[in-house]
Symmetry: C2
């Protein structure tokens, strides 16, 4: 807020393009600022001016435009009249204007454009005479009435479309541009009637009224429910307001010497050097976008108008140098004169992002710091997914939304139960449903991928699939899925049945017939085996990509403050994490050390009725776990390994109550002996209504004598062993689910006794850091006290999210997250990206309080947020020591840590 | 900390009694400060001095007493020698000293007393000669060796006891005091040998060494695990340290003209005016406490020594006036000379507390403000429990700990399953077990009371019973309970079997044979029907009590800031709450409006597959709920009624999954049709792993269209109806489980539309405050944002405790709370008394942030903490508007609000 909104006498509400520049996006919006920038670069831009976002904010808070704004607008229109030698509303030489919205961030859901403002029953004659083209003039007028009626006055589309259809039928033509001028004129009159009939308002003949109506419509469109929802979902502040750009019309549709096009300064799909674009002769910009006629490559312009083409290439080169980035432009040629209508930094694919960033460094336009800022962790993550072999022949059968990335191949199943069964039989399956519901969860788990015909990126299928890391294509609405009949109807009329193999690409949403070969990512190969190995046998584009990734990653590693560790529970995972660049293990879960063949021992432990039985079970577990720890410490030799003592509730090691009860009841009815009553009793006793909020973590360690002591002993003995064989073991012990420093103190007492005993027994001096998870709000709130005892903190942001929000991931993601995303309550699942406002506040409070008591204490994150770009940016901002994430996300975290350090900002949120 | 602990040259480590006063408890401890006070009042106190708590703190931080301390002690001993004309270690006229610990708060678990210091092989002869009593002298020496050996040198008790037993047997006497002097002398020698044998140390002959040993032992006893645990459990800071009192010995055991006693200035059990105490001629203080001989009433002293008796009465009167409170004293008469050994403010029963407070007002010693401070909500709560008729004949069979107050009568059951069955058959049962475990939960629920022979106030049985509000007596260790045989063995040799009726008193821990008549509390009668009605037919003591309660409560109501509302879901509860003095309803749950006969409609709602089915079910619920709300608003006419929209997950209205699955499986096996598959499916779909963290509260309102709209409509229509018939309905709508302001905004939008519609339909203008529960950490953390939309906050401290600590009451109270209390992790269950440090911090943050955005916004509490004294004090301190609690706790909350306002402090924690 400039704060001057009230001082109408001094506020400037309108800027001519010459008065602005690219830095003024807050005030002029993105489009306006870039048009101003080009104007000042001397690039031919149709003259115009911008009404500021501040005017829009004023309009919304005062329910009317600021006093003086229309006067300024009129003064600028006079300037345009002077510049063009035309008159706004002049019957001889009418000045026509376009009105375009332009917020700071581009926003679907807002009013876009009204063209040809200034045409009316009189000026249309003048335009026709001047252009010597009746059809062009009336068609422009027809377009204005239709566009204005719809977007400004709120008329529905259908009556206009129906009238055009009827006219084409009556005149026996295929395209509306082929209609004779007289028919277009008739159509225009009919359109005016539609406006009256459907809106009760008359299409205004006064050009100024047209202009004011269009500007106010742009203002109003800022506040539609759809626009508001979009902003909520994208995290765009609701009070920015939009600017309005008013510009002299230029026409690409006045004959073969005219045309219009869109272009990129490099290939946005591959990152290949060289311009890339589409051109359409004798057309307006909207025709290119609408895709009614086939476009030509950009070079077509070079054939018909080499001078304009050369000028365009030069302008594009200038723009790229000026913006030091890939640019995306729109232009129009009117009778041999080139006009630039828009420029912006272009969107690009992940591979293109890396290649272009490296190219720009080579070209001296940016430095390596900036190259790191130009790529995102999100993009790197995309490069790590397996992809379909791009060289393999593919037969596309449908397209939907790429809802959860990856490449999946499998046979069609229409039913979740069948998916589970076929999967159990060893088949890869793709679950194909109109949409999914919580009933489909088991089926989704069993499937290689999910394909739906309804719903978008926030549908149940999409949200759940992303949560599972499962490939999904959603909303492929050209498919008709009949689950009753077990039939998938293709748009080409064919029908696929259950069992037919298809391939789906969760990145671009494409669906292919048959089994398309899947290629592991070359970038993964690079991380695992290094550049040289990865370069072997790849094509030139991939080689350039790999070299770009290597260069950027090396620079990123040299320029970050936060360390990156991995979550790894086994020696195999630990080795993989090391390959991916992990600087240690931030979370080694020990649950698996109680599972598998050891479950029987654990059950004996749980069912033990005497201290002797219990101790015997614990003693049996000791050598097994010692071996586990030796292997992990060996794989991570010389690097820290943070081992979390047992966290989940004991009943997870027992059979399910419902299943067991059914088994017992059925057996009883059949007169058989079914279930060990001691087991059934234990399962009943340990059954918890809310196991997530039950007897787990440190509570279990305090209540079950010997359990944590066993684990500490196994770790200590493993460390001694590693020391003896010349290793450098660096175990750290982490206590889960601490809520009070008293809990921690009691466990530290116990652990210290065990460590002392093992030291003594093995003649091996042991000093482990003992720290705690901060994963309960109370731990965060009392972190100062806890830091008196804990040598480090590790934020368990999954659990912390669960308790701070009061919902468990298992239960709610399926049942209401999709709706919450749709309604903008979340911008993104708080399990995916840290909720900075709520959970983040606790993390920050705890970090500050902990370091106050224990200066410089290590602070890590071991929730899944440790691998999420936006979250990493936050963790860097509050000065955490490291993030820990799954091995696969380690490169992403390395890159994002550096980006945060280099001040890239807004990592993943926009 | 005075901070001068290091400046040994200026710090004074020892104070004579003449130098202290009652205000110096921090430095001199409770006992020392009061001895000093009496000395300065001119009351005869054996001369002595006090080593400060600061010396103890120094001792613990430096591992040695401060330099100069022993010099000061010796100087004071010289003063005592001068005052008494005796010499410390003097073989002719030995000075004997007592050493007693005395911390600021009295603490079991610390070393208590060593008497007769100064006796050794030489001085014992002098003492015998001087007292002309060999037995007395040697018995004193024997006691010193035993006491010193045990408490200072750490010898075990058993060998001493065995030697005494043997000596009594050998001399054929019944009491040790009857042993001939020669035997006592032999015993003393044997005791010295025991000390050497068991501790490796020799009993020191040097009196100064004895004194130093005893003082250091007192210091050391501050830091024993038992003392530390006690302090953790009671919330006493660990760094206070204890003082040590050293005093000239006086002897009550030197003939019939001597004696010792304890007394109260009024009856601490009933509050009756007049002194009350026990006297034992020819005895030492420890003999009174040990209860070896039967004591006489205090008046016995008057018969043998009227002069000392009169003096004692005068001193007691002076003390009571001086302390302006009931005093608890110890005294000794040595050969006709009265000595006061201790005074402190006396503990009393709840009834006595109220009566004495009112008496002291009448006597002009305190004002009514102080009277309010002198009684606690805890005491008032005790007075509200039913009690056994005190006039009924009772046969006491055992005594245990009063673990959960109340009076319960029922037949003995030894097994939880039997308890459940007998209860279902309509019997009242008392569950009798050595101790309880989580397996007994169902049995505990079914029982009227619980009786255990093992465990204390923090045992499983005690904690769970208190949580349930169930009467319990624990640790009645004179009972032998054989659950296998189904036998309860009484200490008198009798055996009770299952089915025998017993009565247990959970307030005082007494167990009676047969059915003792239970009397409802007269104080409840007073609250329900007023003083006049309650006074009818009661005895004088009860009448005085009721008048005291009335007077104090009236004054409390006139002197409090916080309002007190009640949690009430029905018109009946609402009426009762009004009787108990509630100033509105702070929480009206609406769950019950979906239960009972309406469960069928709710099931149709849940199973509905079309919008029409759903709307039909909702429409059926509307008139029923409207009627509910009309009744509640009528009962609370003119007072606010805060109605919480539906909170629990929908599956609570469906059958249990395990039961249903078993039923289906069994039916299937039997070839029958069992369970509606649509129902089974819905139950399966809605099954949540952690329902507490699932689809409930505002989430349900957002996901199930029409549900909250139905409730709002029912409330709105009910309000219009009440308005039409002349009522003054004051409904407030409260949204549960909000975590983000967006959730609230969406519901407020929906509610506003409904309110507008109902206003219009009924021509009745409706304006309800709409507010939210703050019961998730995230709501508290983002309270500033939420306050932008919410018109009031109500803190749901039950849920907030669950999520802040990450444990659910249902799951953990039984499984580990007892251990947590035992180990001092909790001082009290955080569900009983607010965890100020963790949960309280969130409440305070939210209160501050909310009022910053919306100044003066109403802030309430509707968790069960709203009725807990310590929690109320905290809520008052952070300026909340009201607390809301169960109707029964309303008087407690009224009293405690006033006490907090009047600055009583430490309501329930000590």
């Amino acid at each position: 807020m400039s704060g001057s909104g009230e001082e109408t006498t001094v506020t400037k509400w309108v800027y001519s393009f010459a008065e602005g520049n690219a830095e003024m996006k807050d005030l002029l919006g993105g489009k306006g600022a870039n048009l101003a920038e080009m104007t000042n670069m001397g690039i031919p831009v149709p003259p115009g001016f911008t009404i500021t976002t501040e005017s829009c904010r004023y309009y919304h808070s005062h329910r009317e435009p600021p006093a003086g704004m229309w006067d300024e607008v009129q003064a600028h229109v006079l300037d345009l009249e002077a510049a063009t030698g035309r008159g706004f509303g002049d019957a001889e030489r009418p000045l026509l204007l376009s009105v375009r919205s332009g917020a700071k961030f581009s926003m679907p859901g807002m009013m876009d454009t009204v063209l040809d403002i200034g045409l009316n029953d009189e000026t249309v004659i003048g335009l026709a005479r001047q252009a010597d083209d009746d059809h062009f003039a009336w068609d422009s007028y027809r377009r204005l009435v239709q566009m204005y009626g719809k977007t400004v006055l709120g008329a529905p589309s259908e009556p206009f479309d129906a009238l055009i259809e009827a006219a084409m039928l009556a005149n026996d033509v295929k395209y509306d541009v082929e209609l004779p001028a007289a028919a277009v004129k008739e159509l225009t009159e009919a359109f005016k009637q539609v406006v009256v009939d459907t809106t009760g308002q008359v299409f205004p003949q006064d050009p100024l009224e047209q202009l004011q109506g269009a500007v106010q419509a742009v203002f109003d469109s800022w506040d539609t429910p759809r626009a508001k929802l979009y902003r909520r979902q994208e995290g765009i502040p609701q009070d920015l307001g939009t600017a309005v750009n008013i510009q002299v019309m230029v026409f690409g549709n006045v004959g073969e010497g005219s045309g219009t096009g869109v272009a990129f300064t490099r290939d946005p799909a591959t990152g290949e050097r060289g311009v890339y674009g589409d051109y359409l002769a004798d057309a307006q910009g909207e025709d290119v976008v609408a895709g009614i006629r086939n476009t030509s490559p950009l070079s077509a312009l070079g054939e018909t108008d080499p001078q304009s083409y050369e000028q365009l290439l030069q302008i594009m080169a200038d723009l790229e140098e000026h913006y030091a980035d890939l640019c995306d432009i729109e232009f129009t040629v009117q009778e041999g004169k080139l006009w630039m209508l828009q420029v912006r930094v272009g969107k690009r694919t992940p591979a293109a992002a890396f290649r272009i960033a490296a190219q720009l460094v080579d070209e001296g336009l940016i430095d390596l710091d900036e190259a790191v800022r130009r790529v995102t962790g999100q993009q790197l993550a995309q490069l790590l997914f397996p992809q379909f072999d791009p060289t393999a022949p593919k037969s596309l059968i449908a397209e939907g939304m790429g809802a959860s990335p990856g490449a999946a191949v499998g046979e069609i199943v229409f039913d979740s139960a069948v998916a589970v069964r076929r999967h159990a039989e060893g088949h890869e399956v793709i679950l194909v449903r109109p949409e999914t519901s919580p009933d489909d969860l088991a089926g989704m788990v069993a499937s290689a991928g999910i394909l739906t015909s309804r719903g978008g990126k926030t549908s149940h299928a999409a949200v759940v699939a992303r949560g599972m890391g499962k490939t999904a294509v959603c909303g492929a609405d050209s498919l008709r899925i009949d689950t009753e009949a077990g039939e998938l109807h293709l748009p080409d009329g064919r029908t696929f049945f259950a069992g037919t193999v298809i391939s789906i690409d969760g990145s671009d949403g494409e669906v292919y017939e048959g089994s398309v070969p899947v290629r592991p990512s070359a970038v993964v190969e690079y991380f695992e085996n290094g550049l040289e190995a990865a370069l072997e046998g790849v094509n030139e584009a991939t080689a350039e990509l790999l070299e770009a990734v290597d260069r950027i990653m090396r620079h990123a590693d040299e320029n970050r403050r936060m360390q990156v560790r991995a979550n790894a529970d086994t020696a195999t995972d630990a080795r993989r994490a090391r390959e991916m660049g992990a600087q240690g293990i931030g979370l080694c879960r020990t649950e698996h050390m109680f599972l598998g063949e050891r479950k029987a021992i654990v059950q004996r432990l749980i069912l033990s009725e005497t201290d002797e039985e219990r101790d015997a079970a614990l003693a049996e577990l000791l050598p097994l776990q010692r071996k586990d720890f030796i292997r992990i410490l060996e794989a991570m030799d010389g690097l820290p390994v943070t081992i979390r003592l047992l966290d989940p509730p004991l009943h997870e090691f027992l059979p399910d109550l419902t299943e067991l009860t059914v088994k017992a009841a059925v057996a009883e009815q059949g007169g058989q002996t079914g279930v060990d009553p001691r087991l059934l009793n234990a399962v009943r006793r340990m059954k918890e209504e809310n196991p997530m909020l039950g007897l787990r973590g440190v509570r279990l360690g305090l209540v079950l004598p010997g359990l944590f002591a066993l684990q500490v002993r196994a770790i200590a003995e493993a460390s001694c062993h590693r020391r003896k064989v010349g290793g450098d073991p660096r175990a750290e012990i982490m206590i889960p689910l601490v809520g009070s420093v008293h809990e921690l103190d009691l466990i530290i007492d116990e652990a210290s006794r065990v460590l002392a005993a093992v030291s003594e027994e093995n003649g091996c001096s042991l000093e482990f850091p003992i720290g705690t998870m901060i994963e309960l709000p109370r731990a965060a709130l009392t972190a100062g006290k806890i830091a008196g005892s804990a040598q480090f903190f590790s934020f368990g942001t999954n659990d912390l999210t669960q308790t701070t929000w009061g919902f468990s991931r298992d239960d709610v993601e399926a049942s209401f997250f999709a709706q919450y995303l749709d309604r903008g309550i979340f911008r993104v699942s708080p399990f995916e990206s840290l909720d900075v406002e709520g959970v983040g506040r606790l993390v920050e409070m705890a970090a500050v309080a902990g370091r106050e008591v224990r200066p410089g204490m290590p602070l890590g994150v071991c929730g899944e947020h440790g691998g999420d770009p936006a979250s990493i940016e936050f963790f860097d901002s509050i000065d955490l020591t490291y993030v820990s994430c799954s091995p696969f996300r380690v490169p992403v975290a390395r890159l994002e840590s550096s980006r945060a350090h280099l001040g890239a900002g807004g990592a993943a949120s926009k």
